[in-house]
Symmetry: C2
Subunit: 377 residues, 2 copies
Amino acid sequence: MSGESLGIVETRIVTVFDRDDPLRMRSGATLAPVEVAYETYGELNSDATNAVYICHALTGDAHAAGFHEGDTRPGWWDNMIGPGRPIDTDRWFVVASNILGGCRGTTGPSSLNPATGEPYALDFPLLDMADFVEVHRALARRLGIRSFAAVVGGSLGGMQVLQWALSHPAEMGRALIFAASSRLTAQNIAFSAVGRQAIMRDSGFSEGKFLTRGTSPSKGLSVARMMAHITYLSEEAFQEKFGRSAQGGELSPNFGIDFAVESYLEHQGQRFLSRFDPLSYLYLTRVMDYFDPFADPHVIDALAADPVRFLVVSFDTDWRFSTEHSRRIVRHLEGSRVPTSFREIHSPWGHDSFLLEIDDYHATVRAFLDRAAEELA
Amino acid sequence: MSGESLGIVETRIVTVFDRDDPLRMRSGATLAPVEVAYETYGELNSDATNAVYICHALTGDAHAAGFHEGDTRPGWWDNMIGPGRPIDTDRWFVVASNILGGCRGTTGPSSLNPATGEPYALDFPLLDMADFVEVHRALARRLGIRSFAAVVGGSLGGMQVLQWALSHPAEMGRALIFAASSRLTAQNIAFSAVGRQAIMRDSGFSEGKFLTRGTSPSKGLSVARMMAHITYLSEEAFQEKFGRSAQGGELSPNFGIDFAVESYLEHQGQRFLSRFDPLSYLYLTRVMDYFDPFADPHVIDALAADPVRFLVVSFDTDWRFSTEHSRRIVRHLEGSRVPTSFREIHSPWGHDSFLLEIDDYHATVRAFLDRAAEELA
């Protein structure tokens, strides 16, 4: 692996909207307070021109790189961010935050509703991709950053990058969008819907009030997560990793865990429970279903006037957001003469590839950011 | 549509194994009584050489064609079976039965266990593809049929056809296998496992004793069915049928049913509850996971000595059991010089195609059975 890990890092929390200055949401609702959990890596230069923003995917968080005190596993994108890594913290000041509606420090549906003193639950307002971006922007203002050299994200993270670039192109030099989509297909929505149904039909869901009622839709959440994991890996990756091998040496027919692939899914489902909130899962997945920025033919006008350089990356075995999803983004950008580089990377690992250290992918990111650095110099 | 519907038909039930002559299962267990629900269409000729057996897929039943008294919808394969249809009842005597472990008249896990007077539930023995075949064979004996001109099935039905042909090749002239597999991939097993988990984790499952405890894992069963339906259609079929259109004219963001595809899945999940049993779902899906006949290198020996003519059909957009699954069956058969015709049919509809009236598919089946009829004449 190129470069090194950052070492010890920590998550901070800052209030970016309050009752006097609430977040005005796309739906018309207002929300306050809004706290944001974030981490930063590297040093902001004196004219604040070397900042890079990281937008996380559905189940990510602000802890993108380095180690929390006492942890043995680093942040979720440690292979990408660090000294000498593709997003090189010797050069860039990197900001990573937890998304609005999340459950890892940023205000979300399980946060206390100041009007009731109880968790919002389903009273939390429905979210839009633009709301995520407004919260990122508010954090940036707090940090004294008016414009980012680059904004980077994969999957739902890439969708935030796209939204940000479309609505506020002057705030970034480059946009890096990996394994993302500008519009979910019916099949994408179908998977998303069934995952939510698994949660909402769990008797422990208690109409969303499980936190105050002492129940939990944990079984539904683990089923949703197991199903989602099937879509994160390619069919060949599943076959290569597990094939039909038995978990315990030899197959012995039963209804529990017999095949290795069953054990993997069970483990993923179980592990997810300790770190994710069923309500956040509902809110965040639903934002993706509705995201469709190019439905507005004028959405790209601001970008044409104030170009951002795009890097769009897909992975050839990703069947959650296939290369066709990336091509669609590229078609819209190129149709408006927005400077866009597109790369389909070969990787056997499917959608999860954007999280992995794949030489061709990392080299592409590094080269694209090298050019950003040259422009700054 | 070519040909006509059969008109009124009815399901009969016959006991094929009893306490004095129980079903001896592959696992070593015995089972009695075993009742089988079946239907027949057309006339058996005097030397009983014109019989065709239909094996159904996961959620099918004995009612393959024609109408039950008072019904407005015909059996599940009415477009395939009837006078003048590809499986022509003017020529063939067609037998269709409900599978062992099913819930549509044949003995299954919700049947009464004579030892306790209560439903078997999870005390029902685990099943093997060979057990399905033994019950089909017992029904055939009851009907005075020693050999079938053809045995036909799609998906799990095709897997039964393959098993029967491998273990008792003298009992059929032709084997027609559509959209099937001789060995599930890790991804196939993963979908299967998550569906079962949705059922078994439903608090209404009550360790399988829901029938006597007055609970029901209906929410889990509907989630399993919704997820399975995603795999039955191709991505393009979902896109063509539903795209991103709203169920109620215009999208109005919420967590319920807003997109048309959500309404479709909800309807499929709901409708399934009235006709299917959660325990049968567990037992039948598990048989598919373990099915792997060619793991035994000698399994094909009997077939080489007593050839059956095979027709193997796949559909180009089927991603549940892709063409590669069919090719694998063909490779094994041809490797042992078993006469095999293979056709990949173009259809936009994915796995469900085997149930649909697709000209090229129906013409292929008709031509293959015409040759069987010529041999008999």
